[in-house]
Amino acid sequence: MALLTQIIRIILVLFGISTIAFFLIHLSGDPVLLMLPPEATQEEVEAFRRQMGFDRPLSEQYLHFLSQAVRGDFGNSLKFNQPSLEVVLERIPATLELTFYAILLSVLIAVPLGIYSAVNRNSLAENLVTVMVFLGQSMPIFWTGIMLMLLFGVKLQWLPVSGRGTWAHLIMPAFTLAVWVAPTTLRIVRSSMLEVLQQDYIRTARSKGLSEKVVIYKHALKNAAIPIITIIGFQIGKLLGGAVVTESVFAWPGVGQLVVKAIYTADYPLVQACVIVLALIVAAMNFTVDTMYRYLNPKIKSG
């Protein structure tokens, strides 16, 4: 039953995403004026209107858009002159690569630090970790990127400042995104470890004479894992949003950079395709995490 509700909901979410993407371009009134340069003649405007189907009633356009979207057809990109979806899919691997390594890096930063600060409470190190969390949460993501660029790209000249290709290109953008999401993960790791460490079975494990290492990594971490995995999953959405900015800073050729460029060039079919594809990925991730959470945590199965 819970699964059925979930499936109905994800279908509604998909429907809502496409609806928002459709009405987005009608927000300003006339989408034609939005897409054509201001110096276009009256005839050009009318010809474009007919070509794009904007002369038909809105309801008809909407149904047409939905039926095309279901088949993965979002119309041709105005700039690339090829199906928008194709253009987006070409850029997806770059974005996924960046997101993947950003998550990996953020976990590598957050999990050990979170555990350490939960185990060594009230130490100097714990306070340092807290300061890092606050700083990380308060830095504008593009500023982090620019500062890294300034230091490692311009001053030290260790890393290339833009583009994609080698490992060296990946480091700064991935690290920028990791710094952005790591504080949240770190907080969750810390608080769930603190909670688990107070449990009776931890005391039992300690009293059995198990080493502190085994207690922390085998007993405590395993039990603290659910919230940690959940938050990592939910951060995919945040990361894809952050990728929009980060990719623009580092000229990383992914969907984020593509959507910003598409907005600049008023290539709205492409904007729609980008928005829908990114939202789809996030919705799918949220759905997976939700399901996994239900599966892993017997307590909420009834809910």
Binding site: S138, M139, I146, V275, L278, V282
Partner: protein, 304 residues
């Protein structure tokens, strides 16, 4: 009666240590005891004051172009002058002046966006949590849809269509960030509904709006306020990101994000252009986050 329900529920049989000290005073002391929260608050207040007093703190017009004085370094570097103590940008505008006027943009966008999203989200959350059933299903689905969009992407797309302006920025941030409040309030209301003081309201025949207004809303407010401080920080970051991408407040108006995007091409030669506005954002957001975090601890009965 509205508040007593939660307090008795939250405080177990343990004796309250100083029964003569009023509730607000204990919370106040809890806040003051930790200097971090006060420092955060002081930083935020200082920035608010600076932005209000901006005309008194600089002699330079933030949008006045002076091509003869472009790219002057800050005072502590070679060729720096006290005349432009934080230097000038690529068209000779005074950086300090633009920074303190820029605070007005960031703070007012953040403030008004939060007012909109807080009101909308709280109202929607109250309705969903109180009426459950179909209302709840519809609202929760809408929240799911909104949350599937990376926040910045939605804001970006809407601004691109509506055109960049201060008003549009506030509206977009306000109408995209309400979901968090709705989720939070919905959850709280669902658990509050079952508590005795609310049930008593039903038994006495109170009307729906009265129960919502008098009993449910006041009990949700502490968590809503905490969320609002963190949302304020997020809105300021978001405004700077949108302005950085060139979709913020229109061109000559000083905005921190926009200053950084115009400063970025000069990072090799004029580092201060992209660096200083970032520090301004960092300080503001950090101050808000620190104060907000202490506020949460203060309002949370579980933390001593």
């Amino acid at each position: 009666m509205g508040n007593t329900g939660l307090e008795t529920a939250a405080a177990p049989a343990v004796e309250i240590p100083q029964p003569t000290v009023p509730e607000w005073k204990r919370k106040y002391r809890k806040f003051v005891k930790n200097p971090i929260g006060i420092i955060g608050l002081a930083v935020v207040l200082a920035i608010v004051l600076i932005s209000i007093a901006a005309p008194l703190l600089t002699r330079h017009d933030p949008i006045e172009v002076n091509l003869e004085k472009k790219l002057l370094p800050p005072v502590w570097q070679e060729n720096g002058t006290w005349e432009h103590w934080l230097g000038t940008d690529d068209v000779g505008r005074d950086v300090w002046s633009r920074l303190i006027y820029g605070a007005r943009i960031s703070l007012s966008v953040g403030f008004f966006a939060v007012i909109i999203s807080l009101t909308l989200g709280t109202a929607v959350g109250l309705l969903a949590g109180y009426f459950r059933g179909k209302t709840d299903f519809v609202i929760s689905t809408v929240i799911d849809i909104m949350m599937a969009f990376p926040f910045i992407l939605l804001a970006l797309a809407v601004i691109a269509v509506l055109g960049p302006s201060l008003m549009n920025m506030i509206l977009v941030l306000g109408f995209t960030d309400w979901t968090q409040y709705a989720r939070l309030v919905r959850g709280e209301v669902i658990s509050l509904r079952e508590q005795e003081f609310v049930q008593a309201g039903y038994a006495l025949g109170s009307q729906h709006w009265r129960i919502i207004w008098r009993h449910l809303l006041p009990n949700c407010l502490p968590s809503v306020i905490v969320l609002a401080t963190l949302a304020l920080a997020r809105a300021i970051l978001m405004e700077s990101s949108l302005s950085f991408l060139g979709l913020g407040v229109s061109a000559p108006t000083p905005s921190w994000g926009y200053m950084m995007s115009t400063g970025r091409p000069y990072i090799a030669t004029a580092w201060w252009l992209a660096t200083l506005p970032g520090i301004a954002i960092l300080l503001t957001v950090l101050g808000i986050n620190l104060a907000g975090d202490r506020l949460r601890d203060m309002l949370d009965p579980k933390v001593d």
